[in-house]
Amino acid sequence: MRTHPMKLVTIVCEAHAKVVVTHLLSEVGAHGYTLFAVEGDGSRGKRPADIPEFANIQIEVIVPPAVAEQLLEKLGNDFFPRYAMVAFESEVRVLRKEKF
């Protein structure tokens, strides 16, 4: 079956940023996302995930390369200075490229 290259952008951030980040996703043109609660440790200390207000979430979004670039650009400029956050992209291959 033919697969097509896409980018998977993964964002780990404080749960409070959920609304603004998912808003950004639809702004840059992502057609969906997947999200779940995680625990974390990083430069800003442990985030133990037992109370939702201070928890971390991980957001995964599959987008075409151009959208990924734009997304990372905005994250780096507007979000990194403000929110406890890590973001990275990787190469994936999907079946229905028109879906993303």
Binding site: E14, H16, A17, V20, P52, E53
Partner: protein, 326 residues
């Protein structure tokens, strides 16, 4: 019961002891923690129980008795940021956006502190207007909105890009989980009345104090983890987190008396205005004023003011009320 006795009674109540146990768990790095859904479940239970009971009380007392002090409570909540903001900005030399954020937290309220106070009054047999929950419900949002406006005015240029607008803050402040639950169950309680209460009493009333104690164990853990951050906030905020509640508490008690509440109700109004939000306000502020430093407002409301109110503050506000009413 004299003042010291009142404090002792509060400190040795299961609720406060469980809170202290939670603090110890955090400080000794025990791996004890509540899973998030349990925390959320307990929160929902406490808010629904207190809201429903308050609604039944409103139905009994009649809206005529409630509207004036409720309106006053709202106004008080909205005004507190207006005097704390300049204090933080110029007294504490904080940035405008941090000052606005902290001011919003102290104008808003902490439901758990309120619940602990009603618990305490019941334990020492001090009667109070149980429709006081209505004041809790209306005091949560106004200060958040005022704080966000203050912060936006101060950061007009920078904040526009990614921070959500005042509109988002307003939606969050009105339909956010905790406020929605409180207001909603107040109305449900008012519609159900005593008949409905009888059905759900064994779940929402009888075990309430025990559930609160268990919840405060987790709150102790959450607050205890923040204690490390005390060094980061500096001496000014440390003092702010204790002195401002005392002033706001006294203001609240007076306003309660002025608007016709009894001794118990005025104490609760004092507790509300003394308390600082650490759930609704952080959620709204983090999205609306993302440039404010959360360590500052969370540490002061959660690691300073909340423990202070739970342990010493509540008996103090009662004592203030006693002097005023005697």
């Amino acid at each position: 019961m004299d003042f010291l006795e009142a404090i002792r009674a509060n400190l040795l109540s299961p609720a406060v002891l469980f809170f202290v146990l939670g603090l110890i768990a955090a400080l000794t790095k025990s791996d004890l923690k509540f899973p998030e859904p349990l925390y959320v479940g307990l929160t929902i239970y406490l808010l629904v129980a207190i809201g429903f009971k308050g609604g039944v009380a409103i139905a009994e007392a009649g809206i005529a008795k409630v509207w004036l002090p409720a309106l006053a409570a709202m106004a008080l909540g909205a005004l507190i940021p207006l005097w704390t903001y300049p204090l933080l900005r110029f007294g504490g030399k904080l940035s405008a956006v941090d000052a606005a954020a902290i001011a919003a937290h102290y104008g808003s309220v902490s439901a758990v502190t309120f619940i602990a106070a009603t618990n305490y009054l019941k334990a020492i047999n001090q009667p109070f207007e149980s429709y006081a929950t209505a004041f809790l419900a209306v005091m949560e949002s106004p200060a958040i909105l005022v704080g966000v406006v203050l912060g936006k005015l101060a950061t007009k240029t920078a904040g526009e890009k990614s921070g959500a607008s005042i509109k988002t803050a307003m939606h969050e402040a009105i339909f956010g989980r905790s406020i929605f639950l409180l207001v909603g169950t107040l109305v449900v309680g008012a519609l159900s009345g005593e008949v409905g209460m009888k059905k759900v009493e064994p779940f929402f009333v009888t075990p309430f104090q025990g559930v609160l104690a268990l919840f405060l164990l987790e709150m102790g853990i959450v607050a205890g983890r923040r204690l490390e951050d005390l060094k980061k906030v500096g001496a000014f905020l440390l003092a702010f987190g204790v002195v401002v509640p005392l002033i706001n508490g006294a203001l609240g008690v007076c306003l309660g008396k002025l608007t016709g509440l009894g001794l118990g109700g005025a104490t609760l109004m004092g507790v509300l205005s003394a308390s600082a939000s650490y759930i609704a306000a952080p959620a709204a502020i983090r999205t609306s004023l993302p440039d404010a430093n959360p360590t500052l407002y969370l540490t002061s409301s959660l690691a300073i003011t909340f423990p202070f109110n739970i342990t010493l503050g509540i008996p103090i506000y009662l004592e203030i009320a006693r002097r005023l009413y005697s």
